[in-house]
């Protein structure tokens, strides 16, 4: 299939695909805001990681991106949130769903049909996509996620890793500009998780889909990201390039699980050893150490 399926949609639009300004939100009946004064920009084509301690507001922020907040949850929203040039408060969840896809943390909560292809087609039926187009998109999404051979199987008899791919295919078939994935590999073994991250990375690099990955396990995912946002107690604590964010003192204080490759750089530095730059992957750390060890 055409790999530039998203290219036409991209032409002539602003660089930012998600923008929030002083966004504050309080759930109905709550006494304090779940997120407070959040101003962030996510540019089209970025691979962003959203992380921070449990309960810091990550999920709430993601719900603002696809309109579940405020349309489904109600509550009190202040400030602005604009997604794909649409003001979220002025557009329905249905309209926003064409632009923002959400992959749930637990695929069992998302999959329900009797066959994989029916599950993948469901979102398209809701968008009233014509039958021919639907067939094409379902096949394409199954192919992109590497699960064509599972199309007739029941989602409930698949392994956790296969289910997670089906969940991604369901969202991908709707060709969203932005895909939000909430800990998409938490139930997988590391080899399975790595495969899922590679699928996500391919969608990002080849198709230009903007990725927002909510993740605690940064050792596996960090190498793909070019933007990291750390939240703490409802506020944005750190926002920037991965190396800078992981290496900041604040990240450590908040308790972000920085990759061990970065951590080794930090504790060597405390002992007076300086490596050329801040590494985020083990390959980078190996290379940097090699330079130092050879020099000595």
């Amino acid at each position: 299939m055409d790999e530039n399926v998203f290219a036409n949609d991209m032409a002539g639009e602003a660089l930012a695909v998600i923008e929030t300004r002083n966004l504050t939100y309080m759930y109905p009946g709550a006494t304090k805001p779940a997120i407070e004064d959040v101003s962030i920009t996510i540019e089209r084509g970025e691979f962003a990681i959203l992380t921070g301690p449990s309960g810091c507001g990550k999920t709430t922020l993601c719900r603002c991106f696809n309109g579940l907040i405020p349309h489904f949850y109600g509550g009190k929203l202040e400030g602005d949130v604009v997604v794909a040039d649409l003001k979220v408060v002025e557009h329905s969840i249905y309209e926003l769903a064409r632009h923002v896809g959400l992959v749930f943390q637990n695929p069992e909560n998302q999959l329900f049909a009797l066959s994989v292809e029916k599950d993948v087609a469901f979102g398209l039926e809701n968008l009233a996509v014509p039958r021919d187009e639907m067939r094409k998109r379902v096949d394409w999404a199954l192919q992109m996620t590497g699960i064509e051979e599972l199309s007739e199987r029941s989602p409930h008899e698949l392994s956790g890793g296969q289910q997670q791919r089906v969940a991604i295919a369901c969202v991908l078939a709707m060709k969203p500009d932005v895909m939000i994935l909430d800990e998409p590999t938490s139930f997988l073994d590391p080899a399975g998780a790595q495969k899922i991250f590679e699928v996500i990375n391919e969608l990002n690099k080849k198709l230009g889909v903007t990725i927002i990955l909510v993740e605690h396990r940064l050792d596996l995912a960090s190498k793909y990201a070019n933007h990291v946002i750390v939240m703490d107690e409802g506020k944005v604590a750190l926002d920037g390039e991965p190396r800078r964010v992981f290496n900041s003192e604040r990240a450590r204080l908040i308790g972000v699980g920085v990759p061990k490759a970065t951590r080794l750089y930090q504790i060597l530095r405390e002992s007076g050893v300086r490596l050329g730059k801040v590494p985020v992957t083990s390959e980078e750390t190996s290379l940097l150490l090699r330079e130092v060890l050879k020099r000595d």
């Binding site: 449990s54 800990e183 061990k260 504790i267 002992s271 060890l293």
Partner: protein
Amino acid sequence: MIEVKDVYFTYLYGVEALKGVSLTIPDGEFIAIMGQNGAGKTTLVKHFNGLLKPTKGEVVVDEVNTREVSVAKLARKVGFVFQNPDHQLFCETVEDEVAFALRNFGFEEDAIKKRVTWALNLLDVEPYRQASPFMLSGGERKRVALASVLAWDPKVVILDEPTIGQDHQQKEKLRHFILQLNAQKKTVIIVTHDVEFVAECNPRVVLMTGGKIVADGGAEEILTNPKLVVQASIVPPQITQIFLGLSDLGLPTNVIDVHEARKILLSLMRG
């Protein structure tokens, strides 16, 4: 002591999940059972408290064959925290949830109250005492499930994927807390994919693939063996990857700990 003697297990729907597993876990041991999705890890540990009985072979817990004793009786000794807390929690409040098993075991109400408070504080969920477990986040529910088992003070604690959905700080707490249980001579058995967590804890590691045990040894020995690790669909810890990438310079390849890594590197650089 838990003794697993050549155990085979076939589920009713026909899948043979264990294919001849033998394993001895002495009292007071800390052991991590690792391996790919579907390797039989959870099936194996469900034999330790009698939830599953072997199709062939036997499991003996403190000299009692699990076939000859009820799960209720075994549970007093062997506590099991499920992977998915939703498969375990069902009461209306967190407090009732944690008190439930204690009432079943016939503890006095005074003792129950004390133990519930102790367990809720230990797991950092005391503020949710009167809340419904289902109003909590995934990570919090997981801690309530753990509190409900620790409350009755079992001799053996089995934790199935305890780090899923936990942030870095909670994982650090969990690690201290497991080491503390272990220091109190409790047997701790974790089933996990979390390589970095295991590298930090450094327990005995049993590696499973396709219903069989393929390796059994110290974390430093198992997690740094690239062939074994690939076979079990896990990835070596980042520190190991870094050192494996430098093996041609004569660096050791069995390093899993970041502080150990610093020590070795500094001695080389200052050599």
